[in-house]
Each structure stands twice: as structure tokens, then as C-alpha cells.
């Protein structure tokens, strides 16, 4: 009897936990679903007063699923779909966001993440396997650097950028931007990498050395394959961070056609101020790739974030 009571109590307890968690989930995803709905309405339905959530009402009914007036207008404007008989698929995408800015951002994010992974792996390995003078101080210093807000540095970086453009051999803004991104995301990545290397037992390496492998060979053949999941996590984390970064890309690049996608969105917002379905569609187009990437690799993201923040 007591057991049955306990069971019932536990079940009601769990029910409350589920209800609370579902409420939190709704708080997290409803705004995005709301934007998804806005992006599919046409202007007449958006400008209705009072506003309606779904454009599905008829003069007689308040909700009728067969009468929904969904519209792809917003997405058509974002992609700038134009028929072009010369291109491979018979059409081409002329919207600035797709044809210029997403391309720029993919370029920046990929190159930054690759270099960050490489540098973080090298220094993370060194911090994990060697004890040298200033080891602790350097490691703490790298973390402490992140305590200075990026905005403070941005003032100096902006003036540095102006100086760089005036040099006799001007440095391309794009290279400067990638360098800034690297510096911005390296400290955390070094800590994540160190954590992943710490988790690989030293004995494996020693065994390889005894069997006649060189130090470098052991690094390449034994350690790197084991650390690969961690390095992929660093790559993904940096990629998403660069994709989402706004201030540096907006302020440090002079030419608009070299700016990343978050500036593209900001610019687009200014142009389509009154057409909120177009802005909503642009948000969806830019956010969906990283959301999908996150959902696909979520465990890698989680491990990197926990590694970088708690153990650091």
C-alpha cells in the first residue's frame, strides 16, 4: 500500500516537472515560431488591426485551415529569385543576403575556425603535456584576458584598422577581420582543447614512445585521433560564434561587400523597415543553417561548452 502511494506521489511529481519543463521550452521556442509565422504572412494580414496570429480566418469562421493565406513573398524578396536561362538550374539568386553576405560569412567562419582549431590544438597539447616556467601564469593570463569587454578593445581595433588601411602595403580588411575573430575566440578554445587533452591518458603516449614512436609521431598517430571529437567541437563552436558575431564585422570592415551576414541583416532591416514579413524571412534564412547545425551536433556543442567553462 505504501509503495503504491509512493509511486503515485512520484508520478505526480514527475508530471509537475514535465509541465514546468514544457513551459520553459515554450518560452524558449515560441518567439522563433512566432517569427516563422510572420515570415509566411502577406502584408495585408500583417497590417490588420487588431493583429491575428494565423492568417486563417474567413468572414464566417475564426479559424479554417483550408482558408489559410500563406505567402512566400518574404522569402522571394530575401533570395531575390530571378529566372536566368544561362545558369545551371534555370534561375539565380540575386538577393544581397544570399549572394554576398552569406558567402562572406561562410568564408570568414570556415577560415577562422580552421586556424583556431589548429592553434588551440597546439597550445592545448603543450599546456596539457608539459610543465614549464610560467605554465600556470600563462594559462590564467589567457583566461583573464577575456575579462576585458570586447567593446573596449573595439575602439582600439577600429583605429588600428584605419592605420592598417593607410599603410604603404595595405592589409586587406578581410584578413584583419579573421585575425580579430581568431583572437576573440582563441582563449576559450585553448582551455577547451587543454581539457580534452587532459582526458586522454598519458600511458597511451608513453607506450607508443617505448615501442619506438617519436614524440611527434605519438602526437600525430595516437593523440590526435583520440582528440579529434574535441577538435571538431571547437571547430563547430567557433563557426557558430563567428556566424553570429555582429559588432566586429560591422565596424572593422570598410567596404559593404566584404561585410558578414549579420551586417547584411541589419542593412536589410533598414531597407525593409515597414515590411516586417521580409525582415522575418531574412531572420529565418540566416538562423536556420546554424540551428540545424546545432541540432545535428548538439552533444559535441554541449561537451565543448562544459569543458571550456566549468573545468576552466
Amino acid at each position: 500500500m505504501r509503495n503504491i502511494l509512493k509511486g503515485i506521489k512520484k508520478r505526480t511529481n514527475n508530471l509537475f516537472i514535465h509541465i514546468a519543463l514544457i513551459a520553459i521550452c515554450l518560452f524558449c521556442i515560441l518567439p522563433i515560431i512566432g517569427i516563422g509565422i510572420i515570415s509566411l504572412k502577406d502584408l495585408a494580414d500583417i497590417r490588420r488591426i487588431p493583429p491575428v496570429l494565423f492568417p486563417c480566418d474567413t468572414p464566417t469562421e475564426s479559424f479554417n485551415i483550408s482558408a489559410c493565406r500563406w505567402s512566400w513573398e518574404g522569402y522571394r524578396l530575401v533570395f531575390g529569385l530571378k529566372s536566368n536561362p544561362d545558369s545551371l538550374l534555370g534561375f539565380s539568386l540575386t538577393g544581397n543576403i544570399v549572394s554576398i553576405y552569406i558567402y562572406n560569412t561562410v568564408l570568414y567562419a570556415t577560415s577562422t575556425s580552421l586556424v583556431v582549431v589548429f592553434l588551440a590544438a597546439a597550445s592545448g597539447y603543450a599546456f596539457s603535456r608539459f610543465r614549464f616556467r610560467g605554465h600556470r601564469a600563462l594559462l590564467t593570463g589567457i583566461l583573464a584576458i577575456t575579462g576585458v569587454p570586447f567593446l573596449t578593445n573595439l575602439v582600439g581595433l577600429y583605429q588600428m584598422g584605419i592605420t592598417l588601411r593607410k599603410l604603404p602595403f595595405p592589409i586587406d580588411d578581410r584578413i584583419f577581420l579573421v585575425l580579430v575573430y581568431m583572437g576573440l575566440f582563441l582563449p576559450l578554445s585553448v582551455w577547451i582543447a587543454k581539457g580534452f587533452f587532459d582526458a586522454i591518458p598519458r600511458d597511451l603516449e608513453d607506450a607508443a614512445l617505448i615501442d619506438g614512436c617519436s614524440q611527434f609521431g605519438a602526437l600525430i598517430r595516437i593523440i590526435m585521433p583520440l582528440a579529434l571529437p574535441g577538435l571538431i567541437a571547437i571547430f563547430l563552436l567557433t563557426f557558430v560564434n563567428v556566424w553570429n558575431e555582429f559588432m566586429a564585422g560591422y565596424l572593422l570592415v570598410a567596404k559593404n561587400e566584404y561585410k558578414p551576414v549579420m551586417f547584411g541583416l541589419y542593412d536589410f532591416m533598414g531597407q525593409n523597415y515597414m515590411n516586417i514579413q521580409v525582415v522575418a524571412a531574412a531572420c529565418m534564412v540566416i538562423a536556420i543553417p546554424v540551428v540545424l547545425m546545432f541540432l545535428f551536433f548538439r552533444n559535441r556543442f554541449f561537451s565543448a561548452m562544459v569543458e571550456g567553462s566549468i573545468k576552466g
Binding site: 519543463l21 520553459i24 521550452c25 518560452f27 524558449c28 521556442i29 518567439p31 522563433i32 512566432g34 517569427i35 510572420i38 500583417i46 488591426i49 493583429p51 496570429l53 592553434l119 597550445s123 597539447y125 603543450a126 599546456f127 603535456r129 608539459f130 600556470r136 600563462l138 590564467t140 589567457i142 584576458i145 575579462g147 576585458v148 569587454p149 567593446l151 573596449t152 578593445n153 575602439v155 582600439g156 583605429q159 588600428m160 585575425l179 581568431m182 583572437g183 576573440l184 582563441l186 585553448v190 553570429n244 555582429f246 559588432m247 565596424l251 549579420m262 541589419y266 532591416m269 516586417i276 525582415v279 522575418a280 531572420c283 540566416i286 538562423a287 546545432f294 548538439r298 561548452m305 566549468i310
Partner: protein
């Protein structure tokens, strides 16, 4: 003959070992060097450069040294004192609410229930949305007249007397002299957006550390008669305190840095009611082209940031590392 050959061999071997030793001793240096260089160029040098700029002023001929005049001007600027007030309102409510909600979420997720992975994935989606998009998302929801939520909020029968228009309503009358409290609806929305975006990361960090709390300790205290609240207050929170401190650092830093959200959400308005110090820096530097003052403000923000971090360390008495 044979002996000298052997000696030569040993010598060679010794040399090789020495070379290897030298290589091994300098290896960490070479591995770390590029990272340190990048960080010096992109993080350390700009800070020093900003500090230098804060003592200069732009003249047609170039930069000239003016001492602390930029700081003086900043302190005389009424917007600066006001933005400090907004920052306090913003940071205090944002950090505390995110921490409480994050702990609550993490605690629920740490119970042995089904669908934890699904919940965590859904809760985490706001983290992947960039600051500028998250500002935009909430802006579009409350845009006057057309936003989905604006229809409810502007209804005078639900919110007397005239309904709420989040992006345009003037801030309410201040209760404490010139301190901006109670906040405007724009500020409330900014706090909600910031919580929305920071909640996932906070909950994940706290969840990870709650899962490290040994189950035996919790069980044995339950047998000793501790109730749920006592377990949380006396066992879980003390054990995960270091993580909470790290989380607070992260929240303070992201709150101080979150200009993009304000730019896309309210652009500092209504009035100046969402201009926290970082937005003021942005508008001083890139709106009014007053880089020296922006640099001075940047240094002040960095100093405040460090004070907050040291203060948190002091209060919670947690040693870092």
C-alpha cells in the same frame, strides 16, 4: 679500432639525445607561441591602444595629448550618469533572474525523467540565435500596431488605462531621485530578451555541475530527513558554488557586451531608457565620432567589469582554478 668506433657511436647517440632533449624543452614554447602572438595582437595591444586613445584628442593635425580631459567631459555628460543607472538596473535584474531561472531549469533537468535530451535541445535553440536576430525577433513581436503581442499589450481593457506600447511608451515616473527605477517597458523587454538568450548556457553549466554532485550524499541526507529545499540549499548550492561564480562572470561579461541586442531591439529608446554604458560607448564612438571619449568610457567599463568579478570572488570566497 673497434673501441673508437663504439665511442663514436655513443657520442652520436648522446648528441642525438641532447638534440631531442633540446627539441622537447623548446617544443611547448613553439606550440604556444602563435596563440600568444595572436592574443597579444588582437586582445592585449588594442586594450593598451584604447588606454592611450583615452588620453588623446583628435585634432586636424593628428592626436594630441590632453591628459584626463576626456574622462572629465564624460563625467560631466548627463547621459553617462544616467547610463550607469540603466546598467545597474539591467545587470542586477538580468543576472539574478537568469541565475534563478537557470538553476530551476537545471534542477528539473537533473531529475531522472524521460525526454531530457529533447528538452535540452529545445531550450538551447535561443543560444544559437545571434544577438542581433534575437533583438529583432522580439522587436517584430511587439512592433507598434502590427506585432503579434502588440495586439494584446495595446488592448486598453487588459492593460488600463491606454494599453502598453513597449517600444514607444515613455518611462514611468522615477521613485528614487534620478535613479531610473522603475524601468521603462523597453528596458523590461531588453531584460527578457537577454534572459531568453542567456538561459540555455546558464542552465547547461549548472546542470553539468549538479550532475557531478555525488548521488550518495543526496540520498544519505534524504534518509537523514532533509527535505528537497534543504538539500538544494545546504548540499547542492555549496558544492556547485564555483560553477555559479563562473556563470555569474559569463553573465556579467555578456551583459556588458550585449550592444547588438540593443541596436536591433530598441536602438537605445524609448527616449534614452535602454542606453546602458556599452550602448553609450557605441553611440559616442560611432554615432558622434568622439573616439577619445568612447575610449575613456571603454576603460571605465573594463574597470567596472573587473570590480564586479573581484567582488563576486570576494563575496563567494571561491578561489579560481
Amino acid at each position: 679500432m673497434e673501441q673508437s668506433l663504439r665511442r663514436l657511436q655513443t657520442q652520436k647517440l648522446l648528441q642525438r639525445m641532447q638534440a631531442r632533449k633540446l627539441f622537447q624543452n623548446s617544443l611547448p614554447f613553439w606550440l604556444i607561441l602563435p596563440t600568444v602572438l595572436v592574443i597579444l595582437i588582437v586582445q592585449v595591444y588594442p586594450t593598451i591602444y584604447t588606454a592611450w586613445l583615452s588620453l588623446q584628442q583628435r585634432q586636424p593635425a593628428g592626436w594630441i595629448f590632453v591628459g584626463l580631459e576626456n574622462f572629465e567631459r564624460l563625467f560631466r555628460n548627463s547621459l553617462f550618469t544616467e547610463s550607469i543607472g540603466h546598467t545597474i538596473v539591467f545587470l542586477v535584474s538580468y543576472v539574478i533572474l537568469t541565475l534563478v531561472l537557470g538553476f530551476f531549469t537545471a534542477y528539473l533537468l537533473s531529475r531522472k525523467i524521460r525526454f531530457v535530451g529533447l528538452y535540452l535541445s529545445l531550450i538551447f535553440i535561443p543560444w544559437v540565435i545571434s544577438t542581433i536576430i534575437s533583438g529583432l525577433v522580439f522587436r517584430l513581436l511587439v512592433v507598434p500596431d502590427y506585432g503579434i503581442l502588440a495586439g494584446i499589450l495595446e488592448n486598453p481593457s487588459l492593460f488600463p488605462p491606454d494599453g502598453i506600447s513597449v517600444l514607444t511608451d515613455a518611462p514611468p515616473a522615477r521613485l528614487f531621485g534620478s535613479f531610473p527605477f522603475p524601468p521603462s517597458f523597453g528596458m523590461v523587454l531588453l531584460i527578457i530578451v537577454s534572459i531568453w538568450r542567456a538561459l540555455p548556457f546558464t542552465a547547461l553549466l549548472i546542470l553539468a555541475s549538479i550532475q557531478m554532485v555525488s548521488q550518495e550524499v543526496v540520498e544519505s541526507s534524504r534518509i537523514d530527513g532533509a527535505n528537497g529545499w534543504q538539500i538544494i540549499r545546504l548540499i547542492i548550492i555549496p558544492i556547485i558554488l564555483p560553477t555559479l561564480v563562473v556563470t555569474i562572470f559569463n553573465l556579467i561579461l555578456s551583459g556588458m557586451n550585449g550592444v547588438a541586442t540593443i541596436i536591433s531591439l530598441t536602438s537605445g529608446g524609448p527616449g534614452t531608457s535602454t542606453q546602458i554604458v556599452s550602448y553609450l560607448l557605441y553611440s559616442l564612438g560611432w554615432g558622434q565620432i568622439q573616439f577619445s571619449q568612447a575610449a575613456a568610457l571603454g576603460l571605465i567599463i573594463a574597470a567596472i567589469n573587473w570590480l564586479l568579478i573581484l567582488g563576486t570572488l570576494r563575496i563567494t570566497k571561491v578561489e579560481k582554478g
